[in-house]
């Protein structure tokens, strides 16, 4: 069947049918011919035997009586049968007794058989048999029969058989051609469809299903397969497009990148982008195929090689490193290199990104130069500033020393002035007339004013240079208030002012007694100074948070709103024109504020012009080195 392999189904089907028919017909024809031949041969043999028997028995008497003539005439009867060509009778000794030869057939050589024999030759059949009478052999008879007529019949039969064979084959051919169509046509159609699909690439075409037999099932299978192929094809098309877009995107990226991008295989350029070509100052053709290392500045070769080898071994190396390249024109390029392994055309390769950082490096060098210079400058300035600071500290020390000694020096003559004025006013050195007393009182007042000024200035200088020495002790706040009232009372009496303590809570506080008294004294004397009629009232009230407030309320001239802010600045006695009327140092509130801050307290004022003012100062009941709320109150 292997020979059939290359044939189409159509041919195979026809061939199979024809071969089958051929085999059947051939068998039948051969069988027919053989059967016919045998049939004729048998009938001839039977005829000849009966003739031989008949003629033999007819000749028995002749043989018996040796009558040749009768025998001869008996034989001549055989003339009637055209096919019998020779007949002869032998006597018991085998001698010729009688014979008949048809014209033209004289070549007959008789036999003397002991029994009946039939000899077949090409053209003849000869029968020989003994002639018996009462089991005594009287003689022998031989008859030769011409087979040519018989062979004609056989031949005719063969021709007929052949014709039948041919007709049969022809019929088989026609039937085969017809029947194969029912099987091969759908297959051929399927084949046509498949061919069309494969030629056009249109996977939306579906072969039509025309039957429900095996071919129908195959068609269904093909349709399912096509469905899948179509889905895959669409997917593939989408992927292909995405791939193309991606490829285009990345190609663009690489081609238009400002950085040099190259692909190396075995250290040789396999791809270079335009930026690299520009950077290298060479051409793409020259670069491709040339070794990368030629491009590296010679001092940098070991470093680049080392990095490459380490990376190949899988040792951890920084992805990015800086190196130096030498261009085709001999220019030196500082570069930042980022190398990684990829696959290129199926083989391991290196993707190297090279950024020209020559300008950056230059700027860095400049920057370093500037920085170094700057550092020098800063150092110089620092030294200068340190020296200046040193000088300032020295000056500050000198200032403090100067102020301290000046105060002392200024006070010494005041001692005499105040002391002797006091003696004179007490009339210890003799009587005074009213004018002398008046003038001496003026001297006394001026001397005290001067003393206050000197003391305030000294206090401020101490506070400002941070040399406040606090003397912390526990005392009764009311005692201090009473002391202040005792001192101020004469002044209030002079102006007919009512001076009183309204709320007098007995509170023991731990603070600097003298400083607290100084502040209270300042506030109360201020109130007396700026009040012409009405009253001055002092309230001592313990507050929450372990503090105590002391407020001094008056019915004095009051303070304008805009002046309130600058009230605690130095030399800000409200009405500069009124200094003559309200004599003072102008430092009292400023100093009070400074002291209160050192005592970790606070001082504030509320006022309405013409109605009066209330000064409030708040102190912690227990002064501590570092109060918990200092930071929050600072802001």
């Amino acid at each position: 069947m292997n020979i059939l392999k290359g044939f189409s189904i159509k041919k195979k089907l026809i061939l199979i049918q024809l071969l089958t028919t051929f085999a059947v017909l051939s068998f039948y024809t051969v069988f027919n011919i053989v059967r016919d031949t045998r049939f004729y041969l048998n009938s001839v043999s039977r005829e000849l035997t009966s003739i031989a028997d008949l003629v033999g028995s007819s000749c028995i008497s002749a043989l018996h009586f040796y009558d040749r003539e009768t025998a001869g005439s008996t034989l001549s009867i055989l003339e009637a049968d055209e096919h019998v060509v020779n007949a002869l009778i032998l006597d018991s000794n085998g001698e010729l007794f009688a014979e008949y030869n048809k014209k033209g057939y004289n070549d007959f050589d008789p036999e003397k058989p002991l029994a009946e024999t039939i000899r077949r030759e090409a053209k003849f059949i000869t029968i020989s048999k003994p002639i018996f009478q009462d089991k005594e052999t009287l003689g022998y008879i031989s008859i030769r029969y011409d087979m040519r007529g018989f062979q004609q019949i056989i031949s005719k039969n063969k021709v007929i058989s052949l014709i039948i064979f041919l007709i049969g084959m022809a019929t088989a051919w026609i039937l085969a051609v017809f029947t194969q169509k029912t099987i091969s046509n759908p297959i051929l159609k399927l084949r046509e469809d498949m061919k069309r699909i494969s030629e056009t690439g249109d996977y939306s075409i579906r072969p039509s299903k025309e039957r429900d037999d095996e071919i129908g099932v195959v068609t269904d299978g093909i349709c399912d397969m096509l469905e899948q192929i179509q889905v895959r094809e669409e997917e593939r098309a989408r992927m292909l497009q995405a791939l193309q877009e991606s490829e285009e995107k990345y190609r663009n990226l690489v081609e238009r990148a400002n950085d040099g991008i190259v692909i190396l295989q075995e250290g040789v350029f396999k791809y270079v982008n335009p930026s690299l070509v520009k950077m290298a100052g060479s051409s793409k053709e020259k670069l491709l195929g040339s070794p990368f290392i030629d491009f590296v500045y010679k001092d940098e070769i070991p470093k680049v090689r080392d990095h490459y080898l380490k990376r190949m071994k899988g040792e951890p190396v920084p992805a990015m490193y800086e190196t130096v390249f030498k261009t085709g024109k001999g220019e030196i390029v500082d570069a930042e290199v980022n190398a990684g392994s990829i696959k290129y055309k199926g083989k391991p390769a290196d993707l190297v990104i090279i950024r020209d950082i020559t300008k950056r490096k230059q700027m860095e060098r400049e920057l370093i130069k500037h920085r170094d210079h700057l550092e020098e400058l800063v150092e110089e300035r620092t030294t200068e500033l340190e020296e200046a600071n040193e000088r300032l500290l020295e000056l500050d020390r000198l200032k403090s020393m100067f102020l301290a000694s000046m105060s002392h020096e200024l006070r010494t003559p005041l001692n005499s002035i105040i002391g002797f004025t006091g003696i004179l006013l007490m009339e210890m050195s003799g009587e005074l007339n009213p004018e002398q007393r008046k003038q001496l009182n003026m001297v006394k007042s001026s001397a005290h004013h001067l003393l206050d000024l000197i003391n305030d200035i000294l206090d401020i200088s101490k506070i400002e240079s941070g040399k406040v020495e606090l003397s912390i002790e526990t005392f009764s706040l009311m005692d201090v208030v009473r002391e202040v009232l005792t001192t101020i009372q004469p002044l209030a009496n002079e102006k007919n002012l009512q001076l009183s303590v309204k709320e007098a809570e007995e509170v023991q506080i731990t603070s600097d007694r003298r400083r607290v008294k100084q502040i209270l004294m300042n506030l109360v004397s201020n109130s007396v100074k700026f009040t012409d009629k009405g009253f001055i009232e002092i309230n001592i009230t313990p507050l929450k948070n372990h503090t105590v407030s002391a407020d001094v309320k008056d019915t004095g001239i009051g303070i304008h709103k805009e002046k309130l802010k600058i009230l605690f600045n130095p030399f800000q006695q409200i009405d500069m024109t009124s200094t003559k009327k309200y004599e003072g140092t102008g430092l009292g509130l400023y100093l009070s504020k400074k002291i209160v801050t050192h005592l970790h307290g606070d001082i504030s004022v509320k006022s309405k012009p013409g109605k009066g003012s209330t000064f409030t100062f708040i102190l912690p009941i227990k002064w501590k080195e570092e109060p918990e709320n200092e930071k929050s109150t600072d802001h």
């Binding site: 002392h408 010494t412 001692n415 002035i417 105040i418 007490m426």
Partner: protein
């Protein structure tokens, strides 16, 4: 009549103090520095000492301490004449052994009032 030792280096202040004490009818002994003050105290055995703090040779604190180291001066009133400038040192005068202090500048009325307590 009591004997008052005034230790003061400033002539005018010394004059003022002497004038006031003598005016009150008491005897005055003078010294012009700390060392001299100590000697005068030991020699004269005064009833009360007025001690300036800022003194040449030996200051008021040291002088007070040395005077107090003698058994017979354990209870004698020593009044320190302090300056406002030395405010922080006021406790130091008491610690050094002074009985009381009088602030400079001296105001005659107050001075007399205070000193009468010790005379």
């Amino acid at each position: 009549m009591k004997k008052v030792l005034i230790i003061e280096d400033n002539e005018k202040n010394l004059y003022l103090l002497r004038f006031l004490i003598q005016n009150l009818g008491h005897e005055v002994v003078e010294a012009r520095d700390g060392k001299q003050g100590l000697e005068k105290a030991l020699a004269e055995k005064p009833d009360i000492i007025l001690m300036d703090i800022q003194l040449p040779v030996m200051d008021g604190y040291e002088t007070t301490r040395q005077i107090r180291s003698h058994e017979e001066f354990k209870k004698i009133p020593i009044i320190a004449i302090t300056s406002y400038a030395m405010a922080g040192d006021r406790e130091k005068t008491l610690n050094a052994g002074c009985t009381d202090y009088i602030e400079k500048p001296i105001q005659p009325e107050r001075f007399i009032e205070k000193i009468k307590n010790y005379l």
